[in-house]
């Protein structure tokens, strides 16, 4: 108990300017400005570049579907697969897309648990990217089974043959469960985050259709604090559930390889190495998408240089983990004393696919090292170009893992060289069309930055801050 004459508060010196953090929303923007700016993107006129990109992406997407139709009607012979390379681009593309799909949940869940408030400006778009990337990924395991009309046998559904149930010892079946759970939980998490923002747009909407659909999907949200209380708890739980989920999904994808006996695949380092690679490629893709959007929609105050710098740091850290894993794989191949394993790795770097290996090393290990320099991290053009290299490198990583481990079987009579056909290439390019169409629709009709979450990290939102209306003294 303090006597009335005693000073009510001890004066603490303000921290020196150098260690003060840069604000997450620049130029002291008001709460209303945040919703005006983000909802304004949806309410405004459709920009010309949007139509141009859409008109390019649509035919590319249709090409993907055409190629899939051709594959189904003709057979997997239209792909470049041979014996012993029975897993080609389909699996490479599957792992590539699913890897990209990891940044969204990492940003929304792991960074949330770590109280990284900067995530609020990028989580919505990154989650959308995740969902669309998982959709693109999901196409490939479906179509690579050959007789696609039996793809439903992947699921434990009763059938007329007994029924014959799937064999749960197979890591491919684990993958079915991991990827479908990941897609479902990511989509629900994304939608739950959207509810308050859809309500914001509902309340601003003028047109009938907008009022109807935003009203319908915002579920009658009123911003009640009794609701927020349950909502925040559910959000925290989902973040806590998505964190082991995101780590398990790419671990299980890596089991597709690691659980087999093939030299070059059968390694215990695969799960953590795949997860680090997935985060690396996911952040690469987030940077590739967000840097142009930031300037096209004038979002510099919401998606600040600090955000880009922090994403670069994550890319640098995960890229270095991936580089370490590449080195460790070689070390174990030598130290393990298994001649087949040693050969597989030697062949990877210096065999017929040496070019793919060194593209992978340059893009994944060398290119992120530029992010050690603040000057380069804060230059959006440099960051954007390097992020493209990250995307390329991570595709090659999966190509190297899948193809180089398979193309030289134990006896030289079973050696072969694998090259993709036009159908392989056009199907993969086509998935970018599908991805872009979905992403463009997302940025046109849904808030691409989480409005309520960004408001929540400003000083105006803090009831203990003078900008939030605190009178000072007793807090």
């Amino acid at each position: 108990m303090s006597s009335p004459t005693a000073p009510t508060s001890v004066k603490i010196a303000a921290p020196p300017r150098e260690i003060e953090r840069e604000p997450l929303v620049l130029n002291n923007r008001s709460l209303g400005w945040i919703s005006d700016q983000i909802a304004g993107i949806i309410e405004g006129k459709t920009p010309t570049w949007w139509w141009v990109t859409m008109l390019i992406s649509l035919p590319v997407m249709l090409m993907c579907f055409t190629m899939i139709g051709y594959l189904i009607s003709t057979g997997v012979g239209v792909w470049g697969l041979n014996s012993p390379i029975a897993w080609g681009w389909a699996i490479v593309n599957f792992v590539f897309w699913i890897g990209i799909g990891h940044a969204g949940t990492l940003i929304s869940a792991v960074l949330f648990l770590l109280r990284q408030k900067w995530r609020t400006s990028i989580n919505r778009a990154a989650e959308a990217m995740t969902i669309f990337a998982v959709m693109c990924a999901g196409i490939f395991p479906m179509i690579h089974v050959g007789r696609i009309w039996f793809a439903w046998w992947l699921f434990p559904l009763p059938n007329a043959n007994g029924p014959i149930w799937p064999q749960f010892r197979s890591p491919l079946l684990w993958d079915v469960f991991a990827v479908s759970t990941y897609f479902t939980v990511s989509a629900l998490f994304w939608y739950m985050g959207l509810i308050p923002d859809l309500a914001t747009i509902r309340d601003r909407c003028k047109g009938f259709f907008g009022k109807f659909f935003y009203g319908l999907f915002s579920l009658g949200w009123t911003g009640s604090n009794r609701h927020w209380s349950n909502y925040e708890k559910a959000y925290l739980l989902l973040a806590g559930l998505s964190t082991p989920l995101v780590l398990s999904v790419h671990s299980i994808v890596s089991f597709d390889f690691a659980v087999s006996q093939v030299p070059g695949w059968h390694t215990t380092i695969f799960p953590p190495y795949f997860v680090a690679g997935a985060i690396f490629s996911g952040f690469g893709m987030v940077l590739t998408l967000m840097i142009p959007l930031r300037s096209l929609f004038k979002l510099e105050d919401l998606l600040t240089i600090r955000h880009i710098e922090l994403m670069c740091k994550v890319t640098l850290a995960t890229g270095s983990i991936v580089g370490y894993a590449y080195g460790m794989e070689f070390f174990i191949a030598w130290y393990g004393g298994n001649p087949y394993e040693a050969y597989a790795f030697q062949n990877r770097a210096f065999g017929p696919y040496w070019w793919a290996y060194w593209i992978m090393i340059s893009c994944n290990v060398i290119s992120p090292q530029f992010f050690w320099f603040k000057k380069l991290r804060t230059n959006v053009v440099v960051v954007w170009i390097l992020s493209i290299f990250v995307n390329i490198g991570m595709w090659f990583e999966r190509f190297v893992i899948v193809v180089t481990s398979l193309h030289r079987d134990y006896i030289p009579a079973n050696w072969a060289y694998y090259s993709p056909t036009k159908v392989d290439v056009l199907t993969f390019v086509g998935t970018f069309g599908l991805f872009m169409v979905l992403f463009l629709l997302f940025i046109r009709f849904l808030p691409l930055i989480a409005i309520s979450e960004v408001k929540g990290v400003t000083n105006q939102a803090d009831p203990h801050h003078p900008l939030g209306g605190a009178k000072g003294g007793h807090h």
């Binding site: 709460l31 064999q167 684990w174 601003r204 909502y231 989920l245 009831p463």
Partner: protein, 179 residues
């Protein structure tokens, strides 16, 4: 005299989260039960200011997870060891180890369902009608304003005293909301 049979409650608008929070503390201390605070984002500390208990969403999530875990193991046991037993590599028909990845994913999936659908159930969402959503002024609740609503159905509600309480909390604008 106004006819309050049609009135839903008294809506008070505040400019800052701190004002809304102080108002909430006053209303909590005055012993109201049918009232709420509406904000564009979750205000840190508002649960305490309103005297809300810890959310029950966790129980829904836990029950979902427990169901997923049990269902996952039961499914694999039924499919691979009971209904269609196939010996693979001379190993036992069932072990808790090999289906673990599947059971793990099922646990997460159903826990997530529990969290989301539990949240929607506790919040009684989706809701097709709410009197506040008819109010033009209330559109600020998803924009940049903070609202306190005290329902006329609250046993402690009386127009003059409640108005006075909200005014003393620093409210600048107040209006009746019709049901």
């Amino acid at each position: 005299m106004t006819d309050y049979s049609q009135a839903y409650g008294l809506l008070a608008e505040f400019e800052t989260p701190a004002d809304a929070m102080h108002a909430a503390e006053k209303i909590r201390d005055a012993g109201f039960s049918r009232w709420d605070v509406h904000t564009p984002f979750p205000v840190h500390g508002m649960d305490d200011a309103m005297g809300l208990k810890n959310s029950k969403v966790g129980w829904f999530s836990f029950c979902g997870g427990a169901t997923g875990f049990t269902l996952g193991y039961l499914m694999v046991w039924f499919m691979n060891s009971f209904d269609y037993p196939v010996v693979v590599g001379g190993k036992p028909l069932f072990s808790p180890m090999f289906p673990f990845p599947v059971v793990y994913e099922m646990t997460i999936l159903l826990s997530a369902f529990g969290a989301i659908f539990g949240m929607l159930f506790l919040n009684r969402l989706p809701k097709l009608y709410h009197p506040l959503l008819k109010n033009r002024r209330f559109k600020g609740a998803t924009h940049d304003k903070f609202y306190v609503i005290i329902e006329t159905a609250d046993p402690r509600y009386s127009e003059a005293e409640t108005r006075e309480l909200l005014e003393s909390a620093g409210c600048k604008h107040m209006e009746m909301v019709e049901d």
